[in-house]
């Protein structure tokens, strides 16, 4: 049986209290006494990403700070923009009629995260902060001990995917992030001193170990999307089994129509590198066009070029690169006016 490692649990009632607890308990400190270095203090929201990782002993925090009892942690508000509290479940987002109609890519992405049961538990904040994944990392402690671990948990060890790689190549795997990127999302963090807003596009970095530029004493509290007038968006995902797997290639696309022409466009990919990313070279040719086949082919070619999958998920490299190209074409065709 897979049991969780032992931990202490704190249940703050507000984000401010959670940030205070992070600061008081030395967030960011590493415990090197348990085989692989691990963060001593971690936040948990739905637990659907962290708990499987803890069961596999990828993390063995001594203290968990649960956000499940934070007041007003979930909810979707509209006042000129869309404000989604970080604790909102993926089910609530997938089922929200306003998001479905105006921020379609986000509803579509939330709807294809894992299983219905998991979406009832998993939160948008948790999905944004999802750990990166890798065939060499998402394995039991037994498996990883036999292999001798990898760079992601033990910095002295090589990256097993490409042994000469100077960095960890684990894969960004959150479905909602490319959707949020094309919708222009901003995220809000709070720490014990105050708060800050970060454009979501600036949060991620090409590093499987530290995929996000955030401090360990910060709490993600809200996601904000600008008004979506004139925008149409969609999200397409390739995975092994349609009923529950993580993406192995995925594309989100959004275009803003001004009459019969596209006035703005954004395309984002994930599961094709260590960070989800906007592909500006793919979006640029779309502006001023009516999404004719030739233009779409140009964008798809640019996505194909930007996709740099490594051999560390299901599927082959060429299959995943090809999927990125084909999904870009399909996504853009679906965004033409009805």
């Amino acid at each position: 049986m897979l049991r969780l490692p032992r931990f202490r649990l704190l249940e703050p009632r507000s984000y401010g209290e959670a940030a205070q607890l992070l600061a008081e308990n030395g967030a960011g400190a590493l415990d090197r006494s348990r085989g692989t270095p691990t963060l001593r203090v971690m936040l948990v929201a739905g637990g659907t990403d962290l708990f499987p990782n803890m069961k596999r002993r990828q993390f063995t925090p001594e203290l968990l700070i649960s956000l499940a009892r934070v007041r007003d942690a979930s909810g979707i508000q509209r006042n000129g923009h869309l404000d989604i509290s970080a604790g909102t479940t993926l089910s609530a987002i997938a089922q929200d009629p306003g998001i479905r109609e105006r921020s379609t890519a986000l509803a579509e992405a939330a709807e294809v995260v894992s299983t219905p049961q998991l979406r009832n538990m998993g939160t948008i904040g948790g999905n944004i902060c999802l750990d990166t994944r890798c065939n060499w990392y998402d394995q039991s402690l037994f498996w990883r001990t036999a292999e001798g671990f990898c760079m992601k948990t033990n910095p002295d060890v090589v990256c097993r995917v490409a042994t000469s790689s100077p960095r960890c190549l684990a894969v960004a795997s959150a479905d909602t992030v490319p959707a949020l990127l094309v919708l222009g999302a901003t995220v809000h963090f709070e720490d014990a001193e105050g708060g800050r807003d970060v454009p979501l596009a600036d949060l991620y970095q090409e590093d499987g170990i530290q995929p996000m530029a955030l401090r360990q004493d910060e709490v993600l509290t809200d996601v904000t999307l600008p008004e979506a007038d004139g925008w149409r968006s969609t999200y397409l995902k390739m995975r092994d089994r349609g009923s529950f797997d993580f993406p192995i290639a995925a594309v989100a696309a959004a275009v803003r129509w001004d009459g019969a022409k596209v006035s703005e466009a954004r395309i984002a990919i994930t599961a094709l590198g260590s960070r989800p990313q906007l592909v500006a070279d793919a979006a640029r040719p779309l502006v001023g066009t009516s999404l004719d086949d030739v233009t779409i082919a140009l964008a798809a070619e640019a996505v194909h070029k930007a996709a740099r999958p490594m051999d560390n998920t299901s599927g082959t490299i060429s299959q995943r690169k090809r999927a990125a190209l084909v999904f870009t074409e399909r996504a853009l065709r679906s965004l033409r006016p009805a």
Partner: protein
């Protein structure tokens, strides 16, 4: 690190137990309360064999900390049947032969109950979607029957 005293509302009754902080709802249900109808499957939140309802919403017991369930009502497969009669879903599953090995049937029953409690006449596609991965190992055998058993 010590045990904590917890009161959970399970199948309509308050149950007080001393549970380890790091034990999940699945472990508490099976090991402390003896409700072994809820099954250990993958234990990593993929398969759905451990599905129980919390206030009517299907969730994965293997990834849920019991302390965070609070005052919510937990329904397990043991809570479906009354003293004398099986739940209509259990009857339908039995009549349709909606099992292969039967191990994940409790999870299927609980997701089916949640679906039918909110959707009177689900389509075959909606029924399949609501089950998540559960019918997968059964696609060629009981899975089709399990979907059929939920349809009016």
């Amino acid at each position: 690190m010590t045990k904590q005293l917890l009161t959970l509302r399970v199948n309509g009754e308050p149950r007080t137990i001393a549970a380890d902080t790091h034990h999940t709802l699945l472990e508490v249900l099976r090991e402390e309360l003896g409700l072994t109808g809820t099954k250990h499957g993958c234990e990593l939140g993929e398969c759905g064999a451990c599905t129980v309802l919390v206030d009517g919403v299907p969730i994965l017991a293997c990834l849920t900390l019991p302390t965070l369930v609070g005052d919510s009502e937990v329904t397990t497969v043991e809570g479906l049947a009354s003293a004398e009669d099986l739940h209509p879903l259990q009857v339908a599953f039995a009549e349709e032969g909606a099992a292969q090995c039967g191990y994940c049937t409790p999870g299927m029953l609980m997701t089916a109950k949640a679906l039918l409690d909110t959707t009177a006449r689900p389509t075959r596609a909606a029924s399949l979607r609501a089950q998540g991965p559960l019918p997968l190992p059964l696609r060629k055998a009981g899975g089709t029957n399990a979907t059929g058993a939920q349809l009016p």
